[in-house]
């Protein structure tokens, strides 16, 4: 379908307004005029029929369809035509009533006979007051080249307003606001290319923030330590906040377009856009370096492009590009926050429903069905997965230096980063041999690492609870690098502690002894209860007290990630279990910290009946060198000297990805309640707010508080939809078809997207145990804003029959819009942080007792 234009030979311009769905489209028609005319007149016919065809194939058979068509048409009243001819422009406004009539006379309207004449006048009168505007700019150059452009001025208007509300004075306040302190540190780390891991979400969101900072020339040299700290003048705050604000602003036109894709009118679309535009909480959330607005943008984009795909005619293959966009935005949404997964699942659900209908459509050939299914799978399943991997690829290739979170990662991962562990371990010999000096790191002790350790102190003869011990030398796990962490691998059959030449590597299944480097005690275990975990065996450095307690210091090396039976024990890479030969217990970090006599280090035990794979049983060699000295003194000197030699060890992207992903999902931060955290049920009624920023000396402050009126409207429409849907469903089941099929389909689709979108973005929080905030509700809220005007239009068109009722509804709707605007204005000072309000004014804004508004005592 191409835009409709009609020219006659004299260049005189006649315009027809047709319901426009492709809002900005330029058609370039380099034809000579005659040809042009002919082609276009053919298009005219198709176009005139197209609105109905386009919506749903069977629509034009019902009278209600016409009603709807009229409804949509009458909102395009004040068309402005700009004719540019040879550089001169002429502006001509066509009387709107005229055009409405013209539209009403379109071929479809022939079915419109049962409608009362009163309805027509009503239509017209409303059209006159309508704000909506659709204009067409046609630029006619000298001769055959002809450019036709159609611009939806309303769309332009809401976009501009969106940009204005979100972007104006973006640099104010010039302080670190709320979670900027959290995301800022990651942006800094990106600038310095230092590796970090953040369990709050995948890296795309952070990367987008970092991109903004990069474009603004931010160098990452800023300590993010305190909310309210002032940005130095070298930092362009504006650029840090630009991208989230832009995303937030684009959500407004996107919601407008999404409403249109749901087959509702421009007026409803305008309503949705206005609700979003005037939502204080969204403005606040967009204007700072935070991720919610980016998430919302991608989620809305995904739904918009999917519906665009679905609404396009089946014949065009071009529509699959929309599906591709949809898949990509899903991947982006998940890449920003994990919450995006649920929206993605909803979209997949809707898509599979549509695909299922396609499969059932027996008019389509088998081949075509297969091809279409494959295309959909590729666009909605394969592409998102690949893109998701791609975000990590970019993330990991950007961050190649070691940093504060290294300790969370495995030794192998750390060694792949520049600096950090790799500086120490670079060039260590790979294969552990008899005589090797090693440090053994436990895999379990997250997030702090610890190494197998011993020191010149014995277990107390009796513990606090009266139980006895072996009184032998303590063996612990120690979370700091220390010379006492060194152990020497010894062959039980030989005496020497140096590596022979050539080195004899230790293999899986070999029996070894472990000698503590500094004290020369053997790692030993026996049937004595461990100090803190009495069900397990004690592990000690063996001292012979001549009390008939025999040495039991043989350990079998069990490489758990081996590929072959005779696998060699490798530095960093091998995950090793040390099995005690006499008792077949396994060396284990119990995770309990010892009391004062054990210097609060972590307890190490040997436990029988091992439970297959548990990371507390796994040890890896981290630092490693071949011992050369036989004498104790020399060896001590050797242990004190740093290790070095040079080899580069790389692990694949896939291994790195899996590790990072796993860590992100499993690392648990201590979740304590935050002063402004809230429970999900409080969000619906907005019982809670969040103070984002308070001026260091005055009462100027920024709060995350939603627009209470819009919030109420959203809740009401949610309830209304559910009631209405229940009534419709029950009545349909009993055979009363209140709505024609097309309208029913539209109503269903609205419910799937809006109520479904609200559910998937809200319900999961009820089950989450992490600290939650009001801003988590914003994505769900956007779907309700989409729902409200659409539902209003549905009520107007299909539920109310008399003119008075409709008028009342219109008046109510306008009044509510006004109220929304007023309450937006009222809360503006708390949204933008200026102007400063007095304590009394602030008190006046405390509409709910549970809101926490700050007053500075003077």
């Amino acid at each position: 379908m191409s835009p409709l234009r009609f020219h006659n030979n004299e260049g005189e311009l006649k315009s027809r307004v047709v319901e426009r769905r492709h809002l900005l489209e330029v058609s370039l028609l380099p034809w000579i005029r005659n040809k042009c005319l002919r082609i276009r007149s053919r298009h005219l016919v198709t176009c005139l029929q197209s609105p109905a065809n386009h919506r749903s194939p069977d629509l034009h058979t019902h009278t209600h369809t016409d009603t709807q068509n009229v409804t949509t048409d009458r909102e395009t009243p004040a068309a402005v035509t700009i004719v540019t001819e040879g550089g001169t422009a002429e502006l001509r406004a066509v009387p709107s009533a005229d055009r409405t009539n013209q539209t009403a006379e379109s071929p479809i309207d022939r079915h419109n006979t049962p409608e009362t004449p009163g309805r027509d006048t009503h239509t017209r009168s409303e059209a006159n007051v309508s704000l909506s505007c659709c204009s067409r700019v046609s630029v006619m150059l000298q001769l055959p080249l002809l450019v036709t452009a159609q611009v939806d001025l309303v769309l332009v208007l809401v976009s501009v307003l969106g940009l204005w509300t979100r972007l104006s004075r973006l640099g104010c306040p010039n302080n670190v606001v709320f979670d900027e302190v959290y995301y800022g540190q990651f942006v800094s780390l990106y600038m310095k290319r230092v590796f970090f891991i953040d369990d709050s979400g995948p890296p795309l969101g952070h990367m987008i923030l970092a991109l903004g900072a990069y474009l603004g020339g931010f160098d990452g040299n800023l300590v993010w330590n305190r909310i309210g700290a002032e940005y130095p003048s070298s930092v362009s705050v504006w650029s840090l906040r630009l991208l989230p604000a832009l995303c937030g602003a684009l959500c407004v036109p996107l919601l407008y377009l999404l409403t249109l894709e749901l087959n509702f009118s421009h007026l409803a679309a305008l309503g949705a856009a206005l609700l979003l535009l005037l939502e204080n909480s969204l403005i606040v959330q967009s204007r700072f370096m935070l991720l919610e607005s980016v998430l919302i943008f991608f989620v809305l984009l995904a739904f918009f492009s999917y519906l665009r795909f679905h609404n396009s005619p089946n014949s065009s293959w071009w529509r699959f590009s929309w599906l591709l966009v949809s898949g990509a935005s899903c991947a982006a949404a998940i890449g920003v926050k994990y919450m995006g997964v649920f929206s993605y699942l909803l979209l997949l659900g809707v898509a599979s429903l549509h695909t299922w209908n396609l499969i059932g459509d027996r008019t389509v050939s088998h081949l075509s069905v297969c091809v279409q299914c494959v295309c959909r799978c590729v666009c909605l399943l394969v592409v998102p997965v690949l893109l998701y991997l791609f975000w990590f690829y970019v993330h990991l290739s950007l961050l190649n230096r070691s940093g504060p979170h290294d300790q969370l990662m495995s030794s192998a991962f750390q060694a792949s980063l520049q600096g950090g562990l790799s500086r120490i371990t670079q060039g260590q010999p790979l294969e552990v041999a008899y005589g090797s000096q090693v440090t053994l790191r436990s895999s379990a002790s997250q997030p702090i690492p610890c190494w197998l350790h011993s020191h010149k102190a014995n277990y107390p003869i009796r513990y606090e609870n009266g139980r006895g011990s072996s009184h032998q030398q303590q063996v612990t796990c120690y979370p700091f690098k220390d010379v006492n962490n060194w152990w020497i691998i010894k062959d039980p059959g030989r005496q020497e502690l140096a590596v022979g030449s050539p080195p004899r590597p230790v293999r899986h299944g070999d029996v070894v002894q472990l000698v503590h480097g500094m004290t020369s005690r053997f790692l030993n275990s026996h049937d004595v209860a461990a100090p803190m975990s009495p069900y397990a065996q004690e592990v000690s450095g063996y001292i012979d007290f001549n009390v008939s307690m025999a040495t039991q210091n043989l350990w079998r090396v069990d490489i758990s990630d081996r590929e072959a039976e005779s696998e060699v024990w490798k530095t960093i890479l091998s995950e090793v279990r040390l099995v005690h030969v006499n008792t077949s217990a396994v060396l284990k970090l119990s995770g309990v910290s010892l009391p004062d006599w054990g210097f609060r280090q972590l307890e190490v035990v040997a436990e029988k009946l091992f439970q297959s794979y548990s990371s507390s049983l796994i040890w890896t060699v981290e630092e490693h060198r071949y011992g050369t000295s036989q004498e104790q003194k020399e060896r001590e000197a050797e242990l004190h000297s740093p290790t070095h030699i040079d080899v580069d060890r790389k692990i694949s992207f896939w291994a790195k990805f899996l590790e990072v992903q796993w860590k992100m999902l499993t690392v648990k931060q201590e979740d304590s309640e935050h002063k402004y955290s809230s429970s999900p049920l409080e969000w619906i009624t907005m019982e809670t707010n969040i103070a984002y920023w308070l001026h260091s000396s005055t009462n100027a402050q920024i709060h995350l508080i939603g627009n209470p009126v819009s919030w109420g409207v959203a809740n009401l429409s949610l309830l209304a939809y559910q009631l209405l849907a229940a009534v419709y469903l029950l009545r349909r089941r009993r055979g009363f078809k209140d709505l024609p099929e097309g309208v029913w389909g539209q109503f269903e689709c609205l419910g799937c997207v809006c109520v479904g979108g609200w559910l998937v973005n809200f319900l999961p929080f009820l089950l989450m145990e992490k600290t939650l905030f009001l801003y988590h509700y914003l994505p769900a809220l956007c779907f309700l804003y989409l729902l409200s005007p659409a539902l209003l239009e549905h009520t107007h068109t299909h539920l109310l029959s008399s003119v008075t009722q409709r008028r009342t509804l219109c008046v109510c709707a306008s009044a509510v819009t006004l109220l929304v605007f007023l309450s937006y204005r009222t809360f503006c000072p708390l949204t933008y942080g200026s102007p400063e309000l007095s304590a009394n004014q602030l008190q006046g804004l405390k509409w709910r007792d549970t809101w926490d508004i700050l007053y500075r005592r003077r």
């Binding site: 299922w356 499969i359 059932g360 027996r362 088998h366 069905v369 119990s590 995770g591 309990v592 009946l609 439970q611 297959s612 794979y613 548990s614 304590s672 309640e673 935050h674 002063k675 955290s677 029950l730 089941r733 009993r734 055979g735 089950l767 145990e769 549970t850």
Partner: protein, 758 residues
């Protein structure tokens, strides 16, 4: 159109009746005669209701079990009972959770009140079985491994084993109803009879066999009820409806897991009602009748029974016991032997009294303090104040005037509404104190600590007493007044948040001072014990709580208790994804080589077959539904398979998911045996899936060979089950001697997964 086709197909099936074990039946005539059956598919979309109509016509026409059923059923029952009752008394010592449930059985026999996180029916049945079999309730059940000696424990175990023996029988009948195929039913029964896990879990004093008995009985009666749908409101229709309701009450009465089967029945009922609603030949009055019947049979009746169970529970247990502290003062006054039963103490709160203060929130604890400080980083490092559910000396507080000069002589002054008091902890002599520091967990509240020594503290130790609904000058009644303590300096109110403190706080409940002054039970307290030698003791009749109040309170206490069962940090706990894989079992008894060891682990061959069949089922259903949706021509036999798969199989799959998926979102500690109800559904699904898979062999081969293949498949399956049972039976019937990874063991070479611990 669709309806007629379907009827035509059915008449064909009925005539040819190629399926074994099925008598030809006069299906077509009956179908054509009953108008209600037709209406069900009329006027509706073909995809949704066409299926159910076809399904129903088949079900109705063959509602009598196909021939040859009785001997098979006897065989299943015989095998089932013999496997479960074999060596029932071994080992003669307490195994695993017998220590809890056996003990609770004893409590019923002794009529001692106790607290448990599960509803009482299961334990009542255990107690009853013990009582009937001559157990006197004297065995202490202290810890696993204790020898029973002369105590009669076999009755309690026997009850569980008998109820457990019904599971294969019920499964057999359910599958028979759903698939009309004896082969499918036999496969299911075989899987369950020879599963070592099912045998083990049925042989001990546990709630699970009782729970599963009710679950399966409920499903069976639901399925039977579904078959009656074309003769509504006749005797057997009512019978199965009422039976479903009774069994639902039973399932819920044993464990809250019973809720899952209630969901299953609920969904089935909703679907059924939806179908009736779409049947335009029924009047709205008829539909209302249907609805009402279901409300009565499936909601009101179970509710009534459930409440009755609790009524019996409260009537039987009338003596004070270990669970008292979990309940409110009013509740405790019901129990003989409790200090609040016919309590006698000074009536009004006075200065110088020793008191205990209990929070009014349901399952709220006593105000408590002890010789431990808040750790570093949690507010200021002062003494902890918590709320504690057990009765303890550390719950005692002294009531003082702010200036601490008590009038030594005469009767002490009484505390009045609005008075400023100081509460001194009796054991540690610290004052109840609050200040402007964040509370440890509820960051919006202030911290409450114990401060000062021997009663000297500071201005932050002063609290104003406020009787809810009282006026200035009112006296504070012990036990009956709801009291709030307002902190003088900050204006906050003493509050118990209900959140459990971490290890440093001994997992007691947090106490804070809330700046929000709304009256909630969390900020209201009552004075429970009151000791003042200078005042006369008066016999107080505490308001006896209403039965519904007790019911509500005991439920909230149970739910709190359940969610309080958090996994400990260091303990290896079982994850839901372990279960279908049979990844790790549970040690019921014995660790060492010398001990008699029993290990709860499903027969791996069966469990892995179940797992594979779940996947297979999904594939088969996908293929079948795409074929139907695309309208490929399928023969009548294939159509029937499709409908069994999608109808009966769908129901079982739903049952499996409902009994399995919720565990993924549960915060409480989980064990392997939680999977067993789901495993029953999975086995039934396996029966149907394998049966249809084997019957579809004719897709590959021509008739005589395909029959042979089918037979061979069935024989292989049977032999595999029997052989694996032979291999793994020591898991349930007990092993002694060396552990499995040593060569001399009877289980040598059978430790197929490292995670198995036998």
């Amino acid at each position: 159109m669709a309806r007629e086709e379907c009827v035509a197909q059915w008449s064909k099936t009925g005539d040819t009746s190629t399926l074994r074990n099925r008598k030809p039946f006069p299906a077509s005539e009956q179908t054509l005669l009953t108008p209600s059956g037709r209406g069900s598919s009329g006027g509706d979309t073909q995809s949704s209701n066409g299926t159910s109509a076809q399904f129903s016509s088949r079900g109705r026409s063959s509602h009598a079990p196909p021939g040859g059923g009785v001997p098979l059923l006897m065989l299943v029952a015989g095998l089932s009972f013999s496997t479960r009752l074999h060596k029932i008394t071994e080992p003669p010592h307490v195994c695993w959770d017998e220590t809890h449930f056996g003990k609770m059985g004893s409590f019923y026999i002794n009529r001692t009140f106790f607290f448990d996180v599960h509803p009482p029916l299961g334990k009542m049945l255990i107690g009853l079985a013990g009582y009937m079999s001559g157990y006197d309730g004297t065995f202490p059940f202290v810890k696993p491994g204790d020898k029973y000696d002369h105590h009669n424990y076999w009755g309690m175990r026997g009850l569980c084993a008998v109820l457990g023996s019904f599971l294969p029988i019920f499964a057999y009948l359910i599958v028979l109803e759903l698939s009309r195929s004896h082969i499918a039913a036999l496969i299911t029964a075989t899987l369950l009879i020879f599963d070592t896990g099912c045998i083990t879990i049925s042989q001990y004093i546990l709630l699970d066999p009782i729970l599963m008995f009710f679950i399966m009985a409920a499903v069976l009666s639901m399925v039977k009820f579904n078959q009656q749908k074309h003769r509504p409101f006749n005797a057997s229709w009512w019978l199965w409806l009422v039976l479903t309701g009774i069994n639902l009450a039973g399932a819920l009465g044993v464990k809250f897991v019973g809720l899952f089967v209630i969901f299953l029945v609920g969904l089935n009922t909703v679907w059924d009602l939806w179908r009736l609603l779409g049947d335009l030949s029924l009047l709205l009055v008829d539909i209302a009748k249907h609805l009402l019947a279901r409300v009565v049979g499936l909601i009101l009746l179970p509710l009534f029974l459930y409440i009755t169970i609790f009524a019996i529970h409260f009537v039987v247990l009338n003596k004070s016991g270990p669970g008292d502290g979990f309940f409110s003062s009013a509740f405790q006054s019901r129990l003989i032997g409790n200090n609040l039963h016919n309590a006698s103490m000074p009536e009004y709160l006075a200065y110088g009294s020793t008191i205990t203060v209990k929070n009014l929130r349901i399952a709220g604890g006593y105000l408590h303090s002890h010789w431990h400080l808040y750790p570093e980083g949690v507010g200021s490092r002062q003494q902890q104040v918590t709320s504690y559910l057990h009765k303890d000396y550390n719950n005692l507080w002294l009531v003082h005037r702010p200036d601490s000069n008590e009038s030594q002589s005469g009767t002490p002054d009484l505390v009045r509404h609005g008075d400023i008091i100081r509460l001194e902890h009796k054991e540690t002599t610290r004052n109840l104190h609050s200040h402007l520091q964040e509370a440890p967990l509820t960051k919006k509240h202030f911290q409450v600590t114990g401060y000062g020594i021997n009663g000297t503290g500071d201005a932050n130790d002063l609290w104003q007493v406020e009787v809810c609904g009282g006026r200035r000058g009112d006296l504070v009644k012990v036990l009956r007044s709801k009291v709030r303590f307002l902190h003088r300096a900050t204006g906050c109110v003493l509050y118990s948040s209900g959140k459990t403190l971490p290890k440093w706080g001994w997992e007691q409940v947090e106490v804070t001072c809330s700046p929000y002054l709304k009256e909630t039970p969390s900020s209201q307290w009552n004075i429970e014990d009151h000791i003042n030698p200078k005042l006369p003791n008066i016999s107080l009749s505490v308001l006896k709580p209403h039965f519904l109040e007790i019911l509500l309170e005991s439920h909230i206490v149970m739910i709190r208790g359940n969610s309080g069962l958090k996994p400990k940090d260091n303990e290896m706990n079982s994850k839901p994804w372990h279960w279908p894989l049979n990844y790790q079992g549970l040690r019921f008894s014995g660790v060492n080589e010398t001990e008699y060891r029993v290990y709860l682990l499903g027969n791996p061959v069966l469990w892995w077959t179940n797992l594979a069949c779940l996947g297979l089922y999904l594939i088969m259903v996908a293929v079948a539904s795409i074929a139907l949706q695309r309208g490929f021509p399928l023969g009548p036999k294939r159509m029937e398979h499709c409908h069994v798969l999608m109808g009966g199989g769908g129901l079982l799959l739903l049952g499996w998911m409902l009994h399995y998926a919720p565990f993924y979102v549960m915060g409480r500690v989980l064990y392997y045996h939680h999977y067993f109800p789901a495993m029953l559904f999975s086995s039934m699904l396996t029966g149907i899936t394998l049966d249809i898979l084997l019957k579809s062999t004719d897709l590959l081969l021509c008739p005589p060979y395909s029959d042979w293949l089918q037979r061979v498949g069935q024989m292989v399956l049977l032999l595999a089950v029997l052989y694996s049972f032979y291999l793994f039976h020591p898991l349930s019937y007990g092993m002694t001697g060396p552990l499995a990874h040593e060569p001399g063991s009877s289980m040598a070479g059978l430790k197929w997964m490292d995670s198995w611990e036998f």
